[in-house]
Chain length 209, copies 2
């Protein structure tokens, strides 16, 4: 299980500083949607320049205009881009095709995709499917994540949405390839220690699988 550090609601400088602090305990660095929308592709470019050996995920949440947005991401240095599961099949297909052209990857964000719609997304076997409880559903409606009902068991899976040291321990049945963690690291008083504890929890789960 890889840890993807989600960097959101930060300046680019703050994002680089936090990533540098926890670099040893995390695997992938996500340039959050809020950084992309606030600062543009400069955010992806500067994070890649600061961490050239890390996998950089551009959480661009593409809904349309796939070829253009995919090129923006990969030209800026992203190794993975996100596309919404709620987008049309043409959009998802174009992202995957463009990623292949660049030798890069696509993560399909399942935010607010109904269970019956999710079935149609299982065809994209090369993509990473990301089960995702939205920030707004967590913060404004008190919704908790429940990833164990995922229809994508056995696929390339990522999980995102309010994951903490406690909820990490419920993921062993899922065997996700990527665990996306934001505020449990970025809002921790001691970020380095929090990341190290989460890394250790990942390793324990891998051994027990």
């Amino acid at each position: 299980m890889k840890i993807q550090l989600a960097l959101d609601r930060l300046s680019i400088e703050e994002a680089i500083s936090i990533a540098a602090e926890v670099e040893e305990s995390i695997d992938w660095i996500e340039v959050g949607t809020s950084l992309i929308k606030e600062f543009g592709m400069r955010s992806v470019k500067e994070l890649k320049e600061a961490f050239p050996h890390k996998t950089i995920v551009a959480d661009i949440k593409t809904m349309d205009n796939a070829n253009y947005e995919a090129e923006l991401c990969f030209e800026a240095g992203a190794d993975v881009m996100t596309v919404m599961g709620a987008a049309s099949a043409s959009t998802i297909e174009a992202c995957i095709s463009k990623a292949k052209e660049y030798g890069k990857e696509v993560m399909i964000d399942l935010l607010n995709v109904a269970q019956d719609q999710k079935q149609h997304l299982a065809v994209w076997e090369e993509a990473i499917l990301c089960e995702h409880v939205s920030k707004d559903d967590q913060e404004l409606s008190g919704k908790k994540n429940d990833f164990n009902s995922s229809v994508f068991l056995g696929k390339r899976l990522a999980v995102a949405g309010g994951i903490t040291e406690q909820s990490m321990q419920n993921l062993s049945g899922l065997k996700p390839e990527v665990v996306i963690i934001g505020s449990a690291i970025t809002k921790s008083e001691n970020k380095k220690e929090a990341a190290l504890r989460l890394k250790t929890l990942c390793q324990i789960q891998e051994v027990s699988q």
Copy 2:
């Protein structure tokens, strides 16, 4: 019927130059998703500074993190922000609430929302509902717009997706508040004349209603 000029796949300078050329024939100026994702909020800020008396639409396509993204848009000078109809109700509600706080407006983008899901969105009476055929469905799958099946007749309605001088003439039954036009102006050889012809078609439809 207002004309919203959609500015996409351009530099900020090109966007300002095109908007200046057709300013007299158009009503609202949309800072396209591609401009926001490529250049960040600077794109919204610079368009508002260039056209302080025009309504500026930030096509930010919010899927989550509504309060943060709404503040980004309205603080940068946007008069209208977009949120996806595919987002969760918490997200849409937060955008509408934040817009009220700023005295601004929300457009709900119905891109890839199924007919039965659309019914749930009719509750947002203060928002503009935007029937939208995606660029990718048009360009990669050859899909045409068919707005006349809209379940939102009589609501505040916008239409978007490959609208031309020809297809403008099929909109009279819908009576949209806003017609969103991109390439029929931006890719025209004589943009000023194209915009003027589209404005005239709008006026003819208004008289005939």
